[in-house]
Symmetry: none
Subunit: 184 residues, 2 copies
């Protein structure tokens, strides 16, 4: 048996054990037969890509997690020590939590948008993506010609090579977590 079905088996067993799931339970979650799951875990069978997909979906993980091979400081950021980036619009502030770095190729901000404030972002270079999570309040997000009402707890991912505008039409401040990912 090739090495990769063995690796898949180890990864799967490890995940299953960490979640304290029986093969029966996993069969329920994934729609794959218990006997097949056992074979896969033991590296006795070479699963098809659809089967791995079913397993990954049932476990709410990605297929990549199942095929991943092994390859091991702590940074604590205090909000009170962050110096916000402000713009001409008084009601928009961006607190840089994690700066861009060559390894991750993304940066993370906490952003606040006061009631009535509207903030326009210029298009980034092609390939840049933004992930916006509204952790408090609500936001209207205009991306190109479309407008999206983003409620508390909701999240949006979009290509940031389009102009986009953050608008807070509510009467409470909006708090966002923003991840900006740059292409390699």
């Amino acid at each position: 048996m090739d090495h990769i079905p063995i690796k898949v088996g180890k990864n799967l067993k490890s995940i299953r054990k960490s979640r304290d799931l029986s093969l029966d339970k996993l069969a329920e979650l994934t729609g794959v037969s218990k006997a097949m799951l056992a074979q896969v875990e033991r590296g006795d069978s070479n699963p098809t890509i659809s089967l791995l997909w079913k397993i990954a979906n049932g476990l709410r993980i990605s297929v990549t997690t199942l095929i991943a091979e092994e390859t091991p400081q702590v940074t604590l950021v205090r909000f009170g020590e962050l110096e916000p980036i402000t713009e001409e619009e008084e009601g928009y502030k961006a607190y840089p939590l994690f700066p861009f770095d060559a390894k991750t190729h993304f940066e993370v901000y906490t952003v606040t948008v006061e009631p009535g404030c509207s903030h326009q972002s210029e298009p980034h270079q092609e390939g840049v993506e933004e992930f916006v999570i509204v952790t408090q309040g609500a936001l209207d997000l205009q991306i190109g010609d479309e407008a999206y009402a983003v409620e508390q707890g909701d999240a949006v991912r979009f290509n940031a090579d389009q102009g986009h505008i953050y608008v807070n039409r509510s009467d409470r401040p909006a708090w966002l977590q923003v991840i900006i990912r740059y292409p390699f």
Copy 2:
């Protein structure tokens, strides 16, 4: 036929064409039969993980590249539609906002930790980093032998190849944004 073998077929054909390779040549490079390669490209067959591995190796690409899905221009995620991942600890829930993808190499969760709850995460593979932002409440984060008090608005970045424990000792729920970044 499931959608993923169809996706694999499209990706493979696209790569092969971009390199101006015939099926015969690809069969030579990969050690997979020409007939099978044709079936895979047409989405007529559901390849095993070993077969994908052989194809990827022959082409000097990763398996992930073969299974990658295109991302839409804008993805809006509604919190109310998310199915949380729960574990044996009753008070810990992880809502998957953005799943892992071959391009970004990270996944994003909203996590809730109820008062008094303690959640242990097994060490990830080496090279995996976690970014944890506390957007509501407070958290004690134990990483290896160290403990960190993380207040609202604070954030932590750490290598997730160490065991780590989320503990909510306060009397309010803690809400976190968690980014898990996997090495390329």
